[in-house]
Every structure is written in structure tokens, then in C-alpha cells.
């Protein structure tokens, strides 16, 4: 009984780490640019399909495919921001509508390029690890470790590098950052590309676990939304912590209540927390 619970929790944590990674990109874009990027899920889809393109269709190894797809989606994100977002960034609602329509455009392009049918990427690593109450795939453990590695790297970039400091400054106060000589436009462009890249890396890590299809990006997008708001906007520890909580909650609900309820629970939790503390679990009071 306890062992089952432990095993389920471990599985939840492993999945939750990847959710957190997908949500982090959204957090950064929200924090630095103050826009809701509904195309975030579409970048996730692109990340998965580029991984598929390189690893299955072109036969490259998994790590190369992963890195290439992350880089390409970064570039797409940068161009997307420059051409579409920058001219209208001050208009919250317009950005929202544009990125929503943009997500469908990307989805349709993926559908025409790769076809509407389900695709799958075989596990890049086989074998299992024994844990109390069962076992988990080595692949999941490694993917989790990579995700945590990326989060740690992100933390270091934000804390110590020049671009990271500039990003934090812009997030704090755009106008002051501008007067201090920070190129706000460039920082925001970079942040947007970076957010897209994080979505793509989460997708590359999750794609050997889930199936690929053109509209696959909506589910992680919605989860990322919930995670970002639940954890408190712009808070990286909050996002990671919430991602893991959501992963665990999902697995436990799926096992103890019913698989159909597991997708509902994160959103119920979100509404509960937001009714109690409007700025989220880790968000600062205004």
C-alpha cells in the first residue's frame, strides 16, 4: 500500500519535472515581456516534430536531434517575435489573439508537412530501474535528470550572465532598464526565443513517452498555464515546485479516483489556490 503510493509518487515527480520545463518557457516570456504566449504549445509541437524529423526520418542519434530541434525552434521563436509580436506587444489582448491564431497556423503547417496521423519516437534508452513497489524506465529518470539540468542551467544564466541579468532587469522595470542602456527589444526577442526553446526541449524529452500529432501542443500549453499561475507568475522555484505537484496529483488521481479525472484535477487546484491567494503560491503580493 505504502509502496504503491511511493512508486506512484516517484512516477509523478518524474513526469512533473518535464511539465515544469514546459511551463518555464511560458513563465520567462510572461515575466520579461508581460504577454501570454498562446503559441507556446505550438513551439512544443514543433520541438517534437523536429526531433522526429532528425531522429527517425534522417536517422541521426537522439542527442543530436534534441539539440538541433531546440536550436531551430529558438531561431523560429526569435523570428516570430520580431515579425509578429514586437509591433503589437503593448496590446495585451491583440498579442493573445495573434498568438492563438498563430498556434493554429503552425499546427496546420505541421499537419500539411508531416500528415495528420499519429507518430511515435521509440525510447532512446531501454531498461528499467527498480524502485520500492515496482520499477520505472531508465529513460524517464534520465529525461528528468536532463530537465533538472536545464533548469539549473537556466538558473545560472539568469543569476550570473550578462543577458540573464538584463532579462531580470527588463522583467523588473522595462523603462528603467531602457534608460540604463539595456537594449530592451533585443532582450525580449532573446527571451521569447529562449521560451520557445524550453518548450521544444520539454517536447523532445516527452516525445518518446507520448505520441506525436499536430494538435499535441494544446495539452501541455494548458497545463503550463495552470502551473505558471498556480506557482506565481515569474517565479522559477514556484514553477518547478508546482510542475512536480501537478505531476504527482495527476498520477495519484489517475490511480485512486479515475483516469478521466486526472486532467481535471490540476485546474480545480488552480481555481482553489487562486481564490485563496490571487497571486499564486509563490507570487509576490502586489
Amino acid at each position: 500500500m505504502i509502496e504503491t503510493l511511493l512508486s506512484l509518487t516517484i512516477n509523478g515527480v518524474l513526469i512533473g519535472g518535464l511539465y515544469a520545463l514546459a511551463a518555464l518557457g511560458l513563465t520567462i516570456v510572461l515575466g520579461v515581456m508581460r504577454v501570454i504566449n498562446v503559441s507556446h504549445g505550438a513551439f512544443y509541437t514543433l520541438g517534437a516534430y523536429f526531433t522526429f524529423l532528425f531522429s527517425i526520418m534522417l536517422g541521426m542519434n537522439y542527442i543530436t536531434s534534441f539539440l538541433l530541434s531546440a536550436l531551430i525552434v529558438f531561431a523560429i521563436g526569435v523570428v516570430y517575435e520580431r515579425i509578429l509580436i514586437k509591433p503589437i506587444r503593448k496590446e495585451e489582448l491583440n498579442v493573445l489573439i495573434l498568438t492563438f491564431a498563430g498556434a493554429f497556423v503552425i499546427e496546420e503547417i505541421v499537419k500539411f508537412t508531416f500528415g495528420p496521423r499519429y507518430r511515435n519516437i521509440p525510447p532512446y534508452l531501454s531498461g528499467t530501474v527498480d524502485i520500492p513497489g515496482g520499477s520505472v524506465d531508465i529513460q524517464r529518470v534520465l529525461s528528468f535528470a536532463i530537465a533538472i539540468g536545464i533548469v539549473a542551467m537556466l538558473f545560472i544564466i539568469l543569476k550570473f550572465t550578462k543577458i540573464g541579468k538584463a532579462m531580470r532587469m527588463v522583467a523588473e522595470d522595462e523603462e528603467v532598464a531602457g534608460t540604463l542602456g539595456i537594449n530592451v527589444d533585443r532582450v525580449q526577442m532573446f527571451s521569447f526565443g529562449f521560451g520557445a526553446m524550453l518548450a521544444a526541449s520539454a517536447a523532445a524529452l516527452l516525445s518518446p513517452i507520448y505520441l506525436l500529432y499536430p494538435s499535441m501542443g494544446w495539452d501541455p500549453l494548458l497545463k503550463a498555464f495552470a502551473i505558471v499561475i498556480f506557482g506565481g507568475m515569474g517565479s522559477i522555484p514556484g514553477t518547478v515546485f508546482t510542475g512536480i505537484i501537478f505531476g504527482v496529483a495527476e498520477v495519484l488521481t489517475g490511480y485512486y479516483i479515475s483516469p478521466t479525472w486526472k486532467t481535471v484535477v490540476p485546474f480545480l487546484l488552480l481555481i482553489l489556490i487562486i481564490s485563496i491567494k490571487p497571486t499564486g503560491l509563490f507570487g509576490e503580493e502586489e
Binding site: 495585451e92 495573434l98 481555481i271
Partner: protein
């Protein structure tokens, strides 16, 4: 020359009513001239979506409360009408009242926690409510909603396309008129003030909480009316009524027409519903082209179609001004 142009300028106000009356007459005789039930059907849907888009506009366009999940009001009302009518065998009138009432209750349930939220928090919370409803209808509570199969066999007020056409036309004109009157009244002005600067409105002694909640309720009720009509007209309610796409279409209708004008979203909904059906010859490319048009509008005409008129008027004034010199 000069006389003619001055005349045009004076006639703008009358033109507005002339356009409305012309629309009314054309709309009234359409069923008499077209034999196609399909065209009538598309127009009925257009009427329903006009109410739906205008009801979104009063909350988001006027009051600035970003609602990403508007389909929840429409969908809940439609489901309540269908379920109470078919499973509980309530008379249709009672079911309709129950449906609209449920949308009202939902607007309170969503509105109250949302009063303290702003910007992205509000957007994502409204969205979460509608997403929960979608998940319940599509999987978790499929025993009640019927999932893709839906709830079938809802009764109708009037039988046939043409009577439904006129009923929906009257309902649409009434709803848009009411919403427009509210939006043009002092209340509408206060709602606009909240949108422009909530803190400033509060500083002027306006009870912003009360007005925001009022906007939520109005928005919920009118969307509920649209949903209830939809349920009795279609006679079947499936998950389509609570989808992400339906929530998004409230926004796109309004954007293309002109957000924050009530009339704009109404025009947008009417045109886009017809256009989207008219696009069916594009087959697979329909969604792509539809969304590319939206992207183009956001970038090049964010004020929507209604802003075109203002631009033309401005130009006219300039021409007249130059003439006087």
C-alpha cells in the same frame, strides 16, 4: 462640389439608421427569396453567434476583463437546457429558464474570484473554468453529457427552419439592442472607465467591484440566452459547445468587427460565420486561411472593420476642411 460633400457629412448619422433598416428589411425577406434550407441554417447560426460575440464584448471589450473561456456560459446553458428537457422531461420553457439561470450562476461563480484578479491571472483563470467544463463534458462526466454523441432529442419552440430563422432574428435584434443601450448608458461609461484605468475609476468613487460583477453577470446571461436558443434549435448538444475553438471565436468575431463597440462584434460574428461556411470549398486549407486572416487583422487593422468607417469619415472631414480653405 462643395455642397455635395457637406451633405455627405451631415448624412452620416442618418446613414447609420438607414443601414440598420436596410439590414432589417433584407434579413426579413431572405427566407422568402432563397429556397435553400442550408443558407437559412447558416444565417440562424450567425444570429446566435452575434448574441454570443456581443455578450463577450460587454465584459472584455467594454470592461477590459479578459475572458478567454466565454464558451462556458454558452455551453453550460445549452447542456442544462438539453439535459433538463430530455432527461428530467421539463417543459422547454422551464428548461430554457434553467439554462439561462445556470449561466447566471456560473457568471457569479467565475466572477467573484475573478474580481481580485487582473491581466494574465484573470485570463488564465477564466480559461481554466471553461477548460474544466470541457474536460467534464468530454470525458469525466460523459455519462451525463454523452460526450461526442451528445444529448439528443431536445424539443423546439417552433418547428422548421424559417420560423426558427425569424425567432432567432428577433432574439438577436433584441439582445444586441439591449446590450448596445446598456453600453451607451452611464453604466457603459463606467465600464469603459474601469477598462481604461481601474484605480482611477476607484479613486473617482466608483464601486468598481460592483460594476465588474455586473459586467460578468450581463455577459453570462446573454451568452446563456444564445446557448439556450442553440440547444432548442439544433435539438442536440455535443462537446462542440464548450470547446476552446468556440471560446476563441468570441474573440476573433469581436476583433474582426471591432472590439468594445457591441455593434462591431455583432457584424464580425455575422460575417465570419457566413464566411467560414463559404470557405468550405477550401477544404483542408480552411483553418489555415481563416487564421492567417486573423493574424493579418491583428497586425494591420486591430480596430476591426468598424474602424474602417471612422477612417473614411476622418478623411472626408479632411477633404471638407481643405475645401473651405
Amino acid at each position: 462640389m462643395r455642397m455635395e460633400k457637406t451633405k455627405v457629412s451631415a448624412g452620416i448619422l442618418e446613414k447609420k439608421y438607414a443601414a440598420l433598416i436596410a439590414f432589417g428589411i433584407i434579413a426579413a425577406i431572405i427566407p422568402l427569396i432563397t429556397p435553400s434550407i442550408y443558407i437559412i441554417h447558416v444565417l440562424i447560426l450567425a444570429h446566435i453567434f452575434v448574441i454570443y460575440a456581443a455578450s463577450w464584448d460587454i465584459l472584455t471589450g467594454y470592461t477590459g476583463q479578459l475572458n478567454l473561456g466565454h464558451a462556458m456560459f454558452f455551453g453550460l446553458s445549452a447542456y442544462v437546457v438539453a439535459i433538463t428537457n430530455t432527461m428530467l422531461n421539463l417543459p422547454l420553457l422551464l428548461s430554457t429558464i434553467a439554462g439561462v439561470f445556470s449561466a447566471f450562476l456560473l457568471s457569479l461563480l467565475v466572477g467573484v474570484p475573478c474580481l481580485r484578479l487582473r491581466g494574465p491571472y484573470l485570463a488564465i483563470t477564466t480559461f481554466s473554468f471553461s477548460w474544466i467544463l470541457f474536460l467534464l463534458a468530454s470525458s469525466a462526466m460523459i455519462w451525463l453529457s454523452g460526450g461526442e454523441e451528445g444529448v439528443r432529442g431536445v424539443k423546439t419552440f417552433v418547428v422548421g427552419s424559417v420560423p426558427n430563422y425569424y425567432l432567432s432574428l428577433v432574439l438577436m435584434i433584441l439582445s444586441v439592442y439591449l446590450l448596445y443601450r446598456i453600453a451607451s448608458s452611464e453604466t457603459g461609461l463606467i465600464l469603459k472607465a474601469i477598462k481604461e484605468d481601474e484605480d482611477a475609476a476607484m479613486a473617482c468613487g466608483i464601486d468598481t467591484t460592483r460594476y465588474k460583477l455586473l459586467a460578468f453577470i450581463l455577459s453570462g446571461i446573454f451568452a446563456g440566452i444564445a446557448g439556450a436558443f442553440y440547444a432548442q434549435y439544433m435539438r442536440i448538444v455535443t462537446v462542440d459547445v464548450v470547446t476552446l475553438e468556440l471560446s476563441a471565436s468570441a474573440i476573433t468575431f469581436s476583433l474582426i468587427g471591432g472590439i468594445g463597440t457591441i455593434v462591431g462584434p455583432a457584424i464580425g460574428a455575422y460575417m465570419l460565420t457566413i464566411l467560414f461556411e463559404g470557405f468550405s470549398w477550401l477544404a483542408d486549407y480552411r483553418i489555415l486561411i481563416y487564421n492567417l486572416i486573423i493574424v493579418a487583422f491583428v497586425l494591420f487593422l486591430p480596430g476591426g472593420l468598424i474602424s474602417l468607417k471612422e477612417k473614411v469619415n476622418k478623411k472626408r472631414k479632411m477633404v471638407i476642411g481643405n475645401d473651405r480653405k
